[in-house]
Amino acid sequence: MTIAQVIFVVISAVVLVSAVLVVVSRNIVHAALWLILSLFGVAALFAVLEAGFMAVVQVVIYVGAIATLIIFAIMLTRREMREPGQQTHRWWPLPALLAMALFAGLAWLLGSLPGTGAAPPALAGEDPVLLLGQALLSPEQYMLPFEVASVLLLAALVGAIVIAGDSR
């Protein structure tokens, strides 16, 4: 096993274990903290894959903005931070089975796609951010989704304010 593989395994283990702990934690704030660790782990995976832009964006958006939002939401809506009691549902084996079947199906689907498992194509030394920028802005590529994204963000902002306004 090369060093790179060892590092990948370690980081993936951190991500997976924290993700499980998010679901299993009895204390909801602890769950949020494990989520943050998991998100950092994903950013580290991006960095290992040399997707630098994705790594920093992951930290900036997910950890910086979304995790903060989640923590605020938790603190604002939980009246008691005490242990919530029984964590598992009475019929829990059935959803577990369904989830595993779904996972197996997705894994098979991803595995049968061409290009899975092959090395990612080298970007020939070009700056990935420049390529991304060009892709986002050229009319032949992703210009329309780029502009639609801003409309989507606007809709999200307006929608959230409308909903929040009702309860204030």
Binding site: I66, Q134, L137
Partner: protein, 118 residues
Amino acid sequence: MDNAWSVVGIFMIVAIVLPGAALIMARLLGPKKPSPIKQQTYECGVETVGESWVQFKAQYYVYALAFVVFDVEVVFLYPWARAYGQLPLFATLEGALFILILAVGLLYVWRKGALEWQ
């Protein structure tokens, strides 16, 4: 070791371990005399009453929300800023339109009074 990020990884590990080591050293060097009075939570010198969790204003959530939207917007703008120089003027205007749409959003939030700290 070709990956620039491995340097960042080492850097961050050291950045966390160094203060951690200093903390451990301080714990070893400092006095340890725990007493119930010292370990009580501080409430301006008065005895603590009631639970430690209080209801907070929804206003915090609104700020965090606005922050998420504008953060995502700015993240989209970074590739634009990197590439607009190499592309025709049209690309620059695309970015300007992007910003304008979200400026309208800010104006909406402002006029709705969602930015007032109560």
